[in-house]
């Protein structure tokens, strides 16, 4: 798949002298949902700001669908919709006016039917004549999304779209995002709710201290780094792992009441069958068993910790 955004040698040093982005090289594929994860201050908003024209890059180039963001900014920007992290809205305009304004600003002729459709999808239709200042925080967030969608962008940036949005609305919001993806829109999102990235993303990039430390297909990532654990709740507690079972990666837990087996899901043989037959041979019986898989969150914390350790 050809990339819709290609970032080459991008860096950013703020006027204060702080280097927020080191050298960033990144390609976003057409039609994917790309989740950019990273701790506070990692440089996510800075990166998005440069691509969208809000922050000047110090070095490097960005192309959006082949258009340079500086030399050919008109073509590049008209493809992009941005939902900023901060809740920055007008106050005295109505929802309808502010969304229509955005469409005009991006050079599109009026299309009331389309705006009606977006407002309905985002459950804002009954608020269309309300002044923005009378809306709640979560509604303002949706107004920002409606503004970003008003000009039918090909690429949508969502900088923490679900911050301060309740569970139900969050679901609705992700449904809107899925519909957009189905319609061919490329989506780049940041979130601190890692389970959202796990749910939504096709690919995941991890940024830490201004560097992209990993970009990986989500499924691949989960498989590569995902460890699975099998926990056996024993009928009788053990004092130690029997010597006969030393070949398996086993640990005792819960005062010897649980036997925990860690294995790699991507391995050719997981060793579960061998373990179970060894247990049967030694007549170690168990009441119950359960498997758990490390979540993206565990993976993420592991990664950021390692890179912090390496940097220190």
């Amino acid at each position: 798949m050809p990339s819709i955004i290609s970032i080459n040698g991008l860096s950013k040093t703020y006027a204060s002298g702080f280097q927020a982005l080191k050298t960033i090289n990144l390609d976003i594929k057409r039609g994917e949902i790309f989740a950019l994860l990273g701790p506070n201050g990692a440089g996510k908003t800075t990166l998005i700001g440069i691509i969208c024209g809000i922050v000047n890059a110090s070095t490097g180039t960005v192309q959006v669908d082949g258009h340079d963001i500086i030399d050919d900014y008109r073509a590049a920007r008209s493809l992009i919709g941005l939902v900023p992290q901060e809740l920055t809205t007008d106050a005295f305009e109505t929802v309808w006016d502010t969304v229509s304004f955005s469409r005009g600003l991006f050079g599109k002729p009026k299309n009331p039917a389309y705006i009606e459709k977006i407002l309905k999808e985002l459950s804002l239709w009954d608020k269309k004549d309300n002044k923005i200042l009378t809306l709640s925080g979560g509604m303002k967030r949706r107004v920002l999304i409606a503004k970003a969608l008003s000009h039918e962008p090909q690429v949508l940036f969502l900088d923490e779209p679900t911050a301060g949005v309740d569970v139900e609305l969050r679901k609705d919001m992700w449904q809107v995002v899925r519909n957009l993806r189905d319609a061919g829109v490329t989506i780049i999102l940041t979130t601190h709710y890692i389970e959202e990235a796990e749910d939504m993303a096709d690919r995941i990039g991890v940024i830490s201290k201004g560097e992209i430390i990993l970009v990986e297909n989500k499924v691949e990532l989960m498989r590569k780094l995902g460890k699975k654990q099998l926990t056996l709740h024993l009928q009788k507690p053990l004092d130690a792992v029997p010597a006969e079972l030393a070949a398996h990666k086993l640990e005792l837990a819960d005062n010897g009441n649980e036997l925990v087996f860690t294995y790699d899901t991507s391995a050719e043989r997981t060793g579960v069958t061998a373990l179970l037959s060894d247990l049967a041979r030694l007549e170690i019986r168990f009441r119950d068993l359960q498997t758990t898989q490390s979540s993206l969150e565990d993976i993420f914390i592991g990664l950021v910790h390692n890179s912090a350790g390496a940097a220190a």
């Binding site: 024209g53 809000i54 900014y73 008109r74 073509a75 920055t88 991006f106």
Partner: protein
């Protein structure tokens, strides 16, 4: 989409700004009209009873073009500077920066709206002054021309101030500390010919002198300098503002991080 000019954007910004004006129509229109009327009462009636005429023009009529200019300059500067400062202050500027619009289009929208408002205001003040001193306008087209050019030029100037300002105080300070004094010293209430020769030379460095002189000429055919010089100076100042704005957007000065 490969249009040369994003007209939809210009219209969107213009309408947005005009809507803002309409919401505050009371402050926007009524207060300048009241203060102009006060100037008439104080200067026209009080001083006019002593100085009956200047260069053959009744004093009350003589000050009308100067008063309109005073309002035009302060209001254009204030409107345009507030118009662009406010999105910077609230953060909604992000949308302008991320949109496929050129500096020219953004300036057109904001400056166009600010100038429109000033022109309407100027005409209202003109109508108000008619209630005090009926007068004839010798060259109505020149008069309108100067009105429009000045409104646009000082809206451009205000736009620059709005980008430069780092707080509401700085936003207020330029009209207060620069525009108003220059207007007062620029022959609003007198002809610069009444000044000693040295001060007459000094006033030639005051751009407002050219505006008021040209505008007054359009009314009464009396002026401190030739109307063509006035026109040229206005256009020169306008070009300087346009170039500054072009540079601001190109460099991202005070707009981009």
């Amino acid at each position: 989409m490969n249009q040369a000019i994003n007209t939809h954007a210009i219209i969107a910004i213009y309408k947005f700004e005009m809507a803002r004006t309409l919401r505050t129509v009371w402050q926007s229109i009524v207060s300048p009209v009241i203060s102009t009327s006060l100037y008439f009462v104080v200067f026209g009636a009080a001083i006019g009873s002593r100085i009956t005429e200047i260069e053959g023009i009744p004093y009350g009529a003589f000050i009308v073009p100067g008063l309109i200019m005073l309002m035009l300059l302060t209001q254009s500067t204030m409107n345009a500077s507030f118009g662009i400062y406010f999105p910077r202050f609230t953060g909604t500027i992000y949308e302008l920066l991320s949109a496929p619009v050129s500096s020219f289009e953004i300036a057109c929208g904001f400056v166009g709206a600010a100038a429109t408002k000033s022109i309407i205001l100027g005409l209202i003040i003109l109508a108000t002054s008619w209630l005090f001193v009926p007068m004839q306008i010798a060259h109505p087209f020149w008069m309108l021309g100067f009105l429009v050019l000045t409104a646009i030029t000082f809206s451009l100037f205000g736009f620059i101030i709005g980008i430069w300002a780092d707080g509401f105080e700085q936003l207020q300070i330029i009209p207060l500390l620069i525009i108003t004094p220059l207007t007062f010293l620029g022959g609003t209430f007198y002809s610069t010919h009444v000044l000693p020769p040295f001060w007459q030379t000094v006033t030639l460095f005051n751009p407002v002198v050219y505006l008021i002189s040209g505008f007054r000429w359009a009314f009464f055919e009396v002026s401190d300098v030739s109307p063509w010089v006035s026109l040229a100076m206005t256009l020169l100042f306008m070009v300087m503002c346009v170039v500054t704005i072009w540079w601001i957007f190109k460099s991202g000065y005070r707009l981009k991080k």
